[in-house]
Amino acid sequence: MINSSLRKLSAALAARKISATELATLFLDRIEKLNPGLNAYITLDRAKTLAQAQAADASGKVGAQDTPLAGIPLAHKDIFCTKGWRTSCGSRMLENFVAPYDAHVVEKLAAAGMVTLGKLNMDEFAMGSSNESSYFGPVKNPWDTARVPGGSSGGSAAAIAARLAPVATGTDTGGSIRQPAALCGLTGLKPTYGVVSRYGMIAFASSLDQAGPMAKSAEDCALLLNAMAGFDPRDSTSLERPAEDYARDLEQPLAGLRIGLPKEFFGAGMDADVRAVVDAALAEYRRLGATTVEVSLPNSGLSVPAYYVIAPAEASSNLSRFDGVRYGYRAPEYGDLNDMYSKSRAQGFGAEVKRRILIGTYVLSHGYYDAYYLKAQKIRRLIAADFQRAFENCDVIMGPTSPSVAFAFGAKSADPVQMYLSDIYTISTNLAGLPGMSLPCGFGAHDMPVGLQIIGSWFGEAKMLQAAHQYQKVTDWHTRMPENLK
């Protein structure tokens, strides 16, 4: 049952082979046993979970045509506000914050009849690529607990990899769904900007933040995205588009699919073990009838520096709301009002968050705005234009998700810039607003999972999911799990 796809779980529930309550209990028991060694969940509430499961069992939604996910449990990254549950965003600042409302995504999945298992650990305010910046301690990679799970959705990735949840929500501002999915051997998708509402999702960099599904397979991602996506007037950047069935093209063969391979993604910088595995995956795609064509994204090398102007600038503005007045941490001792702000923020935020607020404040400050922020926004347009040109010659773009397999704890934490470069292949899609996904395509050094990245054109989710699903029909990487957790 713990390895089952959403369709299988749905069928088992519909046939009354198992109840939602039994299914939730099975996962809760497994979490109780295995989570202490992984630190993937940071908030659990058995009574609440079971109450939701019992409500699902009694609702009539289980087995109904329009609620195929009813009764299936999932877990939320702790960036999503969940009414009545602690919502910490991985920070001391929100250590005791119980959200007074649900995020749109949480509302939608609850309306679909899904059951919340708990809240998942993450890099503080989603700023990090290793989960080492969480106030609640790092998440361990289930494949090797001496290694990072990636970040910032590291708790989501570790929970699914260890089969402590069938699926989970994640968010991706510069790679935070795709990189942990790659490092933990999962499938994860960041939709086109605006497809999923940001309402109730704690803001990091508002022009880049996007929520998406994390799961074992592309099919599960498609089904979860069906339930997550949709217009929401409470997010001013939510797009009003007709509803899509993201699973509609899964069974279409790939003959004729044109795969663009950006030469900049296959140069130096990618580890040899990752390259070998990615090359083998591309060979598999050619066997499936796809053709590969070289494309160029000449400005992609500028994506990481441009991102580290734009994202901190937006973060410094978004995180100014944490002032110790209306909610969140307040320092126990202070003098005047400014001293209260400064001490509360100094004590409530961790080192990486403070660094990014300081950088963001600097690049937006008088005299530097044009040189840094406006300059980075112009380069952002160049990066987006590169993709537009590349998609004239291909249907999807493929390459590595991460330049290396999961690294050891501490390996990059002393040098922020080294850590930032972990997202070298993922950041450009956020800047362009494009959808991107990662799927497992083999194992590299130290027997750690390697992810293949698929980048789609704007609103190309169904095509990416089709490409991923067809590959997963002829490979079994997405079904593998760590031996010691079986």
């Binding site: 022009s207 580290y308 660094r355 607020i357 300081l358 600097y362 160049l382």
Partner: protein
């Protein structure tokens, strides 16, 4: 360019984040490392390029000017550090 200790103090003040003298020096080194990294943007020719502020071109939607929120003050203030009679309490700002 490289930040001086005074620059770091000024940015910290603007950010409302208190830094101890020891933190200030370590922060200065890290910020200079990051600024050195983003310096490469300056070499790019961006003449005539429009800044891209957002991932998709959308315009602000307008909605009818009607009340859509209900009064949830008690609920929202329940998570505040300090309140009294429906007000948020902060140190005195006007003598």
């Amino acid at each position: 360019m490289s930040l001086t200790p005074e620059d770091v103090s000024r940015i910290a003040l603007l950010s409302r984040i208190e830094l101890s003298p020891a933190e200030r020096e370590a922060t200065r080194e890290q910020l200079n490392g990051i600024l050195g990294f983003i310096e490469q943007l300056q070499a790019v020719d961006t003449a005539g390029i429009e800044p891209m502020a957002h991932a998709v071109d959308v315009v602000q939607r307008l909605r009818p000017d009607v009340v859509t929120e209900t009064d949830r003050r008690a609920e929202f203030q329940a998570v505040a550090p300090e309140t009294e009679a429906g007000l948020y309490l902060v140190p005195k700002v006007i003598e």
